[in-house]
Symmetry: C2
Subunit: 754 residues, 2 copies
Amino acid sequence: MMLLLMKYALCVHLIYSDIVQRSREELKAIREPNPGLKPTLAIIQVIEEILRLNADSRVHGIFLHLPQSFLSKSVCNAIKPQKDVDGLNIQHFLFCNSPLDAPLVGKMAVLLGLEGPLKATLQFLLQNNGMMVQTHQWSSKHFDIEISRAQTPKPISQLAQEIGLLPEELEAYGNTKAKVHLSLLNRLQHQPNGKYVLVAGITPTPLGEGKSTVTIGLVQALSAHLKLNSFACLRQPSQGPTFGVKGYMDNNNYHNNISRYHRYIHAITAANNLVAAAIDARILHEATQSDRALYSRLVPSVNGVRCFSPIQMARLQHLGINKSDPSGLTPEEVRAFVRLDLDPEKVTWQRVVDTNDRFLRKITVGQANTEKGHARQTQFDIAVASEIMAILALTDGLADMRARLGLMVVGSSRNGQSITADDLGVTGALAVLMKDAIKPTLMQTLEGTPVFVHAGPFANIAHGNSSVLADKLALKLVGEEGYVVTEAGFGADIGMEKFFNIKCRTSGLRPDVVVLVATVRALKMHGGGPNVTAGVPLPKEYINENLQLVADGCSNLKKQIQIAHLFGVSVVVALNVFKTDTQAEIDMVCRIAEASGASAAVQCHHWSRGGRGSVELAHAVKKVASQKNHFQFLYNLQDSIVEKIRTIAQKVYGADDIELSPEAQAKIDHYNQQGFGALPICMAKTHLSLSHMPEKKGVPTGFILPIRDIRASIGAGFIYPLVGTMSTMPGLPTRPCFYDIDLDPVTEEIKGLF
Amino acid sequence: MMLLLMKYALCVHLIYSDIVQRSREELKAIREPNPGLKPTLAIIQVIEEILRLNADSRVHGIFLHLPQSFLSKSVCNAIKPQKDVDGLNIQHFLFCNSPLDAPLVGKMAVLLGLEGPLKATLQFLLQNNGMMVQTHQWSSKHFDIEISRAQTPKPISQLAQEIGLLPEELEAYGNTKAKVHLSLLNRLQHQPNGKYVLVAGITPTPLGEGKSTVTIGLVQALSAHLKLNSFACLRQPSQGPTFGVKGYMDNNNYHNNISRYHRYIHAITAANNLVAAAIDARILHEATQSDRALYSRLVPSVNGVRCFSPIQMARLQHLGINKSDPSGLTPEEVRAFVRLDLDPEKVTWQRVVDTNDRFLRKITVGQANTEKGHARQTQFDIAVASEIMAILALTDGLADMRARLGLMVVGSSRNGQSITADDLGVTGALAVLMKDAIKPTLMQTLEGTPVFVHAGPFANIAHGNSSVLADKLALKLVGEEGYVVTEAGFGADIGMEKFFNIKCRTSGLRPDVVVLVATVRALKMHGGGPNVTAGVPLPKEYINENLQLVADGCSNLKKQIQIAHLFGVSVVVALNVFKTDTQAEIDMVCRIAEASGASAAVQCHHWSRGGRGSVELAHAVKKVASQKNHFQFLYNLQDSIVEKIRTIAQKVYGADDIELSPEAQAKIDHYNQQGFGALPICMAKTHLSLSHMPEKKGVPTGFILPIRDIRASIGAGFIYPLVGTMSTMPGLPTRPCFYDIDLDPVTEEIKGLF
């Protein structure tokens, strides 16, 4: 029966799409939310076809997607009374959020009818000038865990259909991935957002404490077990480390099919390196040409006509030159226009590569004869460290992204002016390169729950959160009763603080609850346990019960709970249980967590049981998210840069004060002078301690936080103080994990990657 | 009617796909070309469904795709007599190539029935144990040129269906691109190949003479006008130049939707740079650790057990150490195993980036303190110059690609041994990175003709041809009467010579005809016209009629025709007509071409008229391709390296002799000693002259070809002598074309790219 249902379902789709092809004008008319509009020929044809199919005794169901259509209160009432059929209550699938007397709103229409009075309903709809039915609960197919292990994901088109996406909003990439168009935000603009859940962690061991797996386990439990629409929004992992040091997501069977998607990074690498090439080429061309030669090349005569390109006009305006005729500039104006006069010593833009390539940490470029002696020292960063990745994560659309790309500061001129991508003339090309990357990628967990994977900025020199756009899309798709779960990189003192102060400030979204992930392992470390090192077997303290270490280590947990409370958000502690944890240890953590102010503290067994292992967490999250919270930022943007840094250092890290290096102080003066003083702060601090000293576990006190230097990502929109040295290029160890990776040329199976 | 036809067509598809999901085992049985096999449940279900649909009076047609099935002579005879319906002759769509009395062959079945006696036929097929109908002519929908200009390409799934691909052989990437699985080669292994057409050119001006546009125009004419199945196989353009110097494909309106696909290059960049990072990290680790420390890290104890990974076992065997227990190696064996002992001065592997970044032409890496003084000078190449790109273009499948990747020589040890990717242990990871890149990308021309875009190796340091795999797939898909048109980079003296001696030798495929592209512009240059420079207006000689220059310049055309004849292949000259060309000039070229041995010489107007402008060329190609040719290689692989180089220099370029630098001679000795002497030769010579001197136009004589140096791409499988200096990294000019590129944030339209 399902076969036939699907078959005819898709028939209707196709008919509609074809009509769309043939009558764009008609369709455009339908799409306009015009109250006076009558159903057009296209709509009538579709409905007639549906009625024909309904009359066919072999048709057992119709699953219809239509773009924006018509909805009135009376229509909704007419549909609601429909009866259960085959155990499915039709009311579950219908939802009307149109205000009374506003019969036509621009929304998606999804109608799932099962036998019954479909014909009458459709005729009623037609008579009432249209139809609009919004899915309330997704009719998702959840895989049983046994099926999940067999790793046969749903076709991505099916998943998309389940969660209410229109075919034209989807671009499939293979059978299990698809990009989602941002037009969805417009279509669902009147849809209320779902609940917004942030997964953060206590200060971790170098092995990580499983925030991503908690995220996945939670959405699986919410979806399959609590029957709530749920979406996970995750960062895209960097490719470099995949072949370097093992660890990332490697002990987790439950979502490895979502962790192999690296395409954005290609676009980011291309865009980042185009800027870098443009910088050095420009320095060379300016150094070797007269003003006049530069001008005649920058504004060439094409078929006898010289004119400025739009981006050159923008530069002229920026320079205060209000002329549009290239022949009208004075020699001084020509000079100002053609010479960015970038100081090679003050270029801050770095090249990037998506490989762990330690030999690129410091390099000299431009040593070939063709570069005429303009060699200079610079470096490559790992691709995810690019400011463009941070922009991708923070932007809310193409226009905003383009503007941010243009604002990126790449260095200073010899007289101290900031030089931007706009000045280089490269903004439009960057926007073109990033055009597809801005669309979040839809994937699924092994249990068939939808996931957006989008952007993955560094958690140290950037803010370490997945994209604003993915969260916004997901919050609309899940609907008012649904849940979007996203995670923040590193410990809560870094990732969560940046999530609130940077990401939420930018997006305007407000979190409903924080899930704070802890492990007995990390707590024991904070309680004084021996060092935990990647690649080395765990000391016995971590394998055997040790209640004292756990009790002492809960100081870190308590502090991180308090940090969330600074922002007015309630906390559910999720204890990610390992097989070596004893019941007494587990109970102790939950008890202390609740005594420390957590609204709930529950154990999670998603590692061994998938979504079923996170049901208790899901219930706790649902309960706490439904309570009112009083979200607030930690600082005002108008506070001085120093004040903002000090606030974070004292209130979040527990420092007594901060200490600025002369270099840092000079940068602050420069940024204030350039007008960048009102940006939020993105601390670049170790994640292995609340302090700047990685070896200080638990809750360090009595320290002064040293600010070594300060940098700025003007396009992304934050200032980042450097606390200590941040590596932006990992290296390969003696035995990189690529030794274990292989491809079976016959089955195409990948071995050794996870 | 078409709407309904499509609708039900896809219905049948879906049913079949679902059955496939449910009964993989049954399907596997069907796929085996087992003569004794009876139709299984799955096939019967499908046929029953078809019969049900046929009984439905609303069904006007069925378009059925089935994987390998059954065919007998009697079945074919039963189908053939069917009558015309609605102007379409059913015989056009049916083709039987099964030998008599071999009723079951492994082929795709496509049946297009239109009303009529479909039911009886299907019942007959069922009674005869199956059905097998091979499309003879694709039922492709060709766009009229007016529609083409509106730029609404067919959905890629529709194109795939038209050319006989099964849904499971396709991975859609967006709506207009899809990767095609290599399993197709296996399914169609008994299908005869189509005709194989190579488009090459005379020695070009720096502006290029339009080989790509001739290729597209030709397949469009063959498809839409001669009604022959046709496929174009093109190289993937590099992204770097797109934002640098304008020119590439920029004057061609007819296929710009196939020229924006850069994904392979990402995989190649990642793979190439992983090798580079592994090399430098290995040198560092070897330099800073004892044999014992290296060994304990390379073969670590995991849960108390030490063992070699498979790729380490391969290295042991390569070293002649037949042991598998890590504790059993002698200290000398450990030393041999752990130390590649790469000589930093003799690392030949370069990093790559897909940006025109001139400052990376010569760089010093490893200058950070963490690299402990192991700085060395190296360079970045543009990504398409990577040996991995050449491998992608020459491989015939995953196993072969994996083997080639492992064979890549990255440098020499201090005692002169070649060190490979296998020695670095990185081969498996490279294969994983390249796993998706090996699948050719299906796209379409603006007239709806299928195109494979796959691989784009440099035409100087590599062989400059698109992939063997795309050609092989296309030759099967077009069928025996169909045409596959591919192009060779640069002039025929380079691109065509390499196409024959390297690509055809590797693939085993044989060309049926060469299309030699000429322009009046290039011929005038060869006849003594002034310099032609990109970005500078053409001198008047090129705009006004000048028969003398044309007549003189035809010497180059004649020579290139003779080069093709050296290989025993016939030539059709295609004169790519520009609006400034006069009829007298055009007639002169065609007359001289035919007098010089071309089988035909025709004018092409695809630039202004699309496929319709190439109909004459299509007829000429069809005629010449049907004649027998006597293809032969120019040299034997067993000839010495020097002999092979001399043969190309004398017979193709017209040199008196070659002259080896001492460096080149030393390399030849080294390669012979390492066992690389029997590889084909890939000359790295300027494309702007038949000689090594770009300014020598026409047919230079009396010169000695200097061989400055010799390099080797062992994985790709060729030796490349350097004639002069080859730039492997373009630069950005003062005004890169990114100044004109922009994205409309609302319409998402790209401006200024073409």
